[in-house]
Symmetry: D2
Subunit: 348 residues, 4 copies
C-alpha cells in the first residue's frame, strides 16, 4: 500500500516546536529542560541552519507543560512560572521597562476553541490612553500598554497581518505580544501546554489556512508570541493511539512475568514512558501487519489519505472546552499583567 503514499501531501498540523523536533542532538538546535512544581519547562533554540530541518523559524522557544489548570492551586503555580518566563523573554529581547507594548488577541470570540486570544485581550490592563492624556504624569510602576483584537478573516475580510500593521503604524508600540489558540499534533498537549517564542507566529496554520507570518520581519517590531494548543486533528488522535498501542504491547512484553502488575487494575498502568526499545520489526509486523512497518510520518500520511477523501479529518476539541478556555485565558492575562506592569498587585 505504501506505493500510494505521497508524503508531500500531509503536513503535520502542529504549531509547537516541541513536537517538530524529535531527536535531541541536532546541529543548530539547543535544548534545555527544567522542572518546577511538576511543571516542565523546555527551552529550544533553533538556529538559521536548523530551520529547514524542524520546520520552525530561527528563534527561542519556551514550552511550559502542565497537567491541569482547572485546579486553583495548580493554576497559581502555572501562573507563577509563566510570569517569570515572560519576564525572562523581555530581558532576553532587550525590552526596556519604558518600552510600549501592544497586546494582540488573535482568533474568533464566537468560536470557543478559537476564543483564547480575544479573551486574553479583553482582560489585560491597558494604559496607553492614560499616558496619552495631556498633563498626566507617567503612571508609576505601569507600562504603556494597548490591546487589539483583529478577529478572523472570514468575519472581517481583512488579513490579520494587514490590520495589525495598520494599528502598529498608527500607534507605534515598541514591541508586540500576540496570543493565539494553536493546533497540536498530539492529544496529550491539548490545553496543557503554553508556548512562548520570539520567532513569530503563523495565524490559522492550525486550521489549514496560513494567513501571513506575524514576526519582527513582517511587523517591524519585536514580537513575543504566546500560544496554547486547543485543537487536534483526527489524524493525530488515530496515529497517537496506534503509537500508544505499540507502547502498551512493548510494556506488556517487558512486564510479562511481573506478578505485581497482574494484580493491578488495568486502568492504573501508565506505559506512556515506554521507549519502544524492545519492539523488533518482526514484533511490529506481527502486531500491526503492513501498517506496523510504517514510520510515524508515513502512518500519518496514510491516515490522512484515509480520512480526507471522506471528509472526516476534522479538527476536534475536548467537550469541556468552554471551561478550559476560560481558565487558560485567566492564567495568561494575569501573567501578562504581572509581567508587564511591576506594580500590579497579585490578587489571588
Amino acid at each position: 500500500m505504501s506505493h500510494e503514499i505521497d508524503l508531500s501531501k500531509y503536513t503535520v498540523r502542529t504549531d509547537l516546536v516541541i513536537e517538530s523536533i524529535k531527536e535531541k542532538d541536532i546541529k543548530g538546535i539547543i535544548t534545555n529542560q527544567k522542572k518546577i512544581d511538576n511543571i516542565l519547562i523546555d527551552e529550544v533554540i533553533v538556529s538559521k541552519e536548523a530551520e529547514s530541518y524542524c520546520g520552525k523559524k530561527k528563534g527561542k522557544y519556551i514550552t511550559i507543560s502542565f497537567d491541569d489548570v482547572t485546579d486553583i492551586s495548580n493554576q497559581k503555580k502555572v501562573e507563577t512560572v509563566l510570569v517569570s518566563q515572560i519576564k525572562d523573554f523581555l530581558t532576553y529581547m532587550n525590552i526596556l521597562d519604558s518600552d510600549k507594548c501592544l497586546i494582540v488577541g488573535l482568533g474568533n470570540i464566537n468560536s470557543t476553541p478559537d476564543s483564547l486570544g480575544p479573551k486574553v485581550a479583553d482582560s489585560v490592563i491597558v494604559t496607553k490612553h492614560l499616558f496619552d492624556l495631556d498633563g498626566i504624569d507617567v503612571l508609576d510602576g505601569y507600562r504603556n500598554v494597548s490591546s487589539f483584537k483583529p478577529s478572523v478573516l472570514a468575519l472581517t475580510g481583512i488579513e490579520t497581518k494587514d490590520s495589525i500593521s495598520g494599528i502598529i503604524k498608527e500607534t507605534k508600540p515598541d514591541f508586540v505580544v500576540i496570543i493565539d489558540a494553536l493546533a497540536s499534533s498530539s492529544i496529550d498537549r491539548v490545553n496543557k501546554t503554553i508556548q512562548l517564542t520570539d520567532a513569530g507566529i503563523f495565524p490559522g496554520s492550525g486550521v489549514g489556512n496560513s494567513r501571513g507570518e506575524l514576526s519582527f520581519k513582517t511587523l517591524g517590531v519585536p514580537v513575543i508570541a504566546i500560544g496554547v494548543p486547543t485543537v487536534v486533528d483526527a489524524v493525530t488522535i488515530v496515529s497517537d493511539t496506534i503509537n500508544y498501542l505499540m507502547k502498551k504491547f512493548s510494556y506488556s512484553k517487558k512486564n510479562f512475568n511481573n506478578v505485581k502488575n497482574k494484580l493491578k487494575p488495568i486502568t492504573s498502568i501508565n506505559y506512556l514512558e515506554d521507549q519502544l526499545d524492545n519492539l523488533t520489526a518482526s514484533d511490529r509486523k506481527k502486531l500491526l501487519g503492513e501498517i506496523g512497518k510504517l514510520s510515524e510520518d508515513e502512518m500519518k500520511q496514510l491516515i490522512f489519505e484515509v480520512l480526507t477523501p471522506i471528509g472526516y479529518n476534522m479538527m476536534v476539541t475536548p467537550k469541556e472546552v468552554d471551561f478550559l478556555i476560560d481558565k487558560l485565558s485567566l492564567v495568561i492575562s494575569n501573567s501578562i499583567n504581572r509581567a508587564l506592569h511591576p506594580n500590579v498587585k497579585i490578587i489571588d
Copy 2:
C-alpha cells in the same frame, strides 16, 4: 434661583440632528418629511452657516422614526425603508457599485446598550478576502466589503480614530459605513429612531467623552454614519416629563367641557400632539411656580445642576435592552447587506 444657572455647563446630550433643530424655518437648514407605512422619514440638510446654530456639522441627515421593531411585520417595513435610504445615500454621495466599503462597528460588545455596532459588524457579509484571492473572478452582484470592530478606549487604550485610520491606510476602502449606539435627548426616541448622515460621527459623545471626530475630514474617505439612540440621561427623563405635564395641563384646559373625554379611561388620552399654544405665562407660573418660567434649556440646566453634584445624572436604558438591541442589529445588518450587495437574496 435662576441667577445661579450657568448655561454654558450643560450640553444637551443628543447625537440626533432632529433634536438639535427646533424651529422649522432657519436660514441654512432645509427640512423635508414623508411617511411610509407609519414610518416617518425626516430629511435635514445643514449648511455650513447653520452649523453653529444647531450644533451639528454641515451635511445631510436622514432620521427614520418608528414605533416598534419587535413586531416581525413592522421590522420588515423598517428594513425596507432603511435599505432604500442607504441606497439613496450611496447615490447622493456618488459612490459607485465598484467602490470598496469598510464597515465599522463602534462600541463595546460586553455592554448591552453599547453593543449595537459590534453586533452589526459581526453580521454583515464580507467579501474583501475573496476579491483578494489571486485568480478569483470578481463576484458578480457582490461589492468588495470588509468590516472592523475597534472596541472602546477603556478596553484597548487606543483612540478609535487612530485604529480606524490604521485599517483604512492598510486596506484602502473607497468609503466607510460606521454604526454606533447614540444618546438621545428625549425618551420617545430611544430604540425607535435610526439616523443616517454623511456629516461624520463623534463616538462617545453620548456618554460624555468626545473621542475624536470620524468624518471625511479626519479619515480621508467618505463616511456614512448609521446610529440608533439606546440611552438617555436622567436630565432628559425629568425635563421631558415636566414638558409632558404642561402639555397634559394644556390639553385638559382645552378639553375641559369635552364630555366624550370624561368617559375615556385616563390611560387612553394621548395629549402628546398638544402644541402648548394656549398655555399663558401665568398658567405656567400657577402650575409650576418659578420652574414654570424657565425655557426648556434653562430647565435642563437646572435639573443638571440638581442631579450632577449628587451623582445621579446617570445614563439609563430600558429594561428590555438585550432584546431590543438584538432586533435592531438584525434590521441594520440585513439592510446594509441588501443595500451594498445587489445580489443578496431577501430571506425573510
Copy 3:
C-alpha cells in the same frame, strides 16, 4: 388638578421595606441601624398589625446599603457584612447546620437587569448529589445544598411558584434561599442595596406582574429572600429629582450667606442630607406652583398619570448594568457559599 388624582391607581413600585416605611416610630415596627466600614445595616421588624400600614408582610428585614461594589476592597467589605447577616438569619430562624438548603435564582438569564438570580444560582456550591451517593460519608464542613433556576413565566409558561413547589416536594429541602432582582422606588438604591428577609418574596412585583407569593405559607418551608434593586421606573426618577430640587433650594436658602460655599464648584456640594425643615408651604408654592403643594405620593400619582397614557413610564437600568450585575452576583454567591458551608475557604 389634584381633583383628577386617583391615589388607588399608582402603587409605588418598590420591593424594599426601607422605602415603604417613612416615619420611624410606628406601632408594630421596630427599626435599628448600625454602620460597619461605611456600610449601613438597617434592621426592620414588621409585626402583623403593621402589615397594612407599610404594605410589607410580617417578618424581619435587613437592608445593607453601600456605595460601590466595583471597587475590589469595598466588594470584600460588603461580602463580609453579607456573610455575617446571612448567618444571623440562619440562627434567628433556628436553621441547623444539618438542615438541607435549596437555592433558587429567580429571573431571566437573557435579560441583563433580571439575570442576578440565575447568575447566583450558577455560582453557588451544590452538594446534594454527593450526599445522595450511596456509601459516601457526609462531607465534613459542607451543608447539603442544591439549586434551581425557574426562569420566567414568559419563557416557560409555568408559574414560578408551581415549579419551585414541584422541586421542593420532590427533593425535600429544609429551607429555601431565594435570590431575585428587585425594583426600587429611589434612584440612589439601584445596585447599591441588598435586602434580606424571612417574610417571603413576590417575584415580578417590580415589573408590575405579581406572580404568586413565595413564602413559608405558600412553599411549606422557611424562606430567606435576598434581593437587589436593579431597575427603577421613570416616575421614580422624576419624583426623586423634584424632591432633590426642593432639597437643593432649601440648602441654598440656609447657606445663602455662607461665603465658603460660593467658592466651591457646583459639583462638590452634597445637599442630600438636607431635611427640608426650613421649607415653608409658601416656599414650595413659589418654587413649584401647584405641584409644590402635593405630597410625595400625590406627586408620584400625578407623574404616573402623565407618563402612563403616552407609554413612557418604562423601567430603566443604568447603562453599566452588565458590569454591575456580574459584580453583585459574585458578592452574593461568595457570601452564600461562605455562610452555608463552614469549610469553604475564602479565596480573595
Copy 4:
C-alpha cells in the same frame, strides 16, 4: 493479545439505535428506510424480546440523517422532514390536539456541545400561562405548551429525573417532549443525525453517567425524545478510522485496474459504501496483523484499554461546534413549534 481483553468493560458509547443494530434481519426488530430530498429516514421498531440484543428499549425509533445543516436551503429541507416526523409520532402515540405538552431541554447551557436542549427550550413557543388566565378563550390553533430546563446534576445537585417529576406533578402535562445532546459511536453522525423515539431517554449516558431513565415508566406520561449526537469519544474516532482503512484497502483491491480511478485526485474517491465483502481473513492479517483479526467490538475494547489508563479517551466535538449547535437548535425549535401548534406561520 486478545486473552487480555475483557469485553464487559467497554460499552459502546452511543445513544443511537441505528448504531446499536448491525444486522438487518433480527427477530423482534423491524426496519424500514426511505429517502426524501437526500435526507435518509430510518424507522426501527424494537420489540420487548429484542431489547437485550440491541441494548435499546422497546419502542419506535426514527433516525433522520442529513449532510449539512449550515446551508440554508438544506436546513429548510431537514425542518420539513422533522415537522412531519414529529406529527407522525403524535398520531402514532394517540396524542390529541388538545393534549398539553411539556418541553424539556436537557443539558448545560454553558458547555457548547451540551447546550442543544436548553437552547431549544428557550426558543419554543409557550402558551400554558395564557391558557391559565381566567377569562381567556382557548387560543385557536395553539396547543397548551410549557417548557423546562433542568440544567445538569453538577450545577444543581438535583437528579434530572427528580426535577422533571416535580414539574410534571405540579403542572400536569399530558405528554413530554425531551431534547438532548447525545453521544455517537461513529464520526459521520456527529451533528448530522436527529433521532426521535417513544422509548425514553437516558440523560448523560453519552458522557458515562447514567442519571436515571426518563420514560413513560418513570415519568407517568408519554415521552417523545429528540436527540442529536454532538460528541464522539476517542475510541470511536480510532476504530472508525481503522474500519475506513480496511474499506479503502478493499476498494483499492477491487478497482486496481480501473484506469478512470487512477486519473482521479485522491481526495475525490469515496469508498465509504464499500461492503468489505472481498476482504479475506488473510488480507486483514496481512494489512493489520493481530489487530486485523479482531471483531469491531474487540477492536473498540482494545483501543479503550489502550487509551483509558493514560487518560486520553476524552469526549471530543468538532471545532465548529458553536455554529453547528446554533443551527441545529433553530431547526429543532422551529420544527417543534410547527408540529405542536397548527397555526404557527412558517417564516422562512
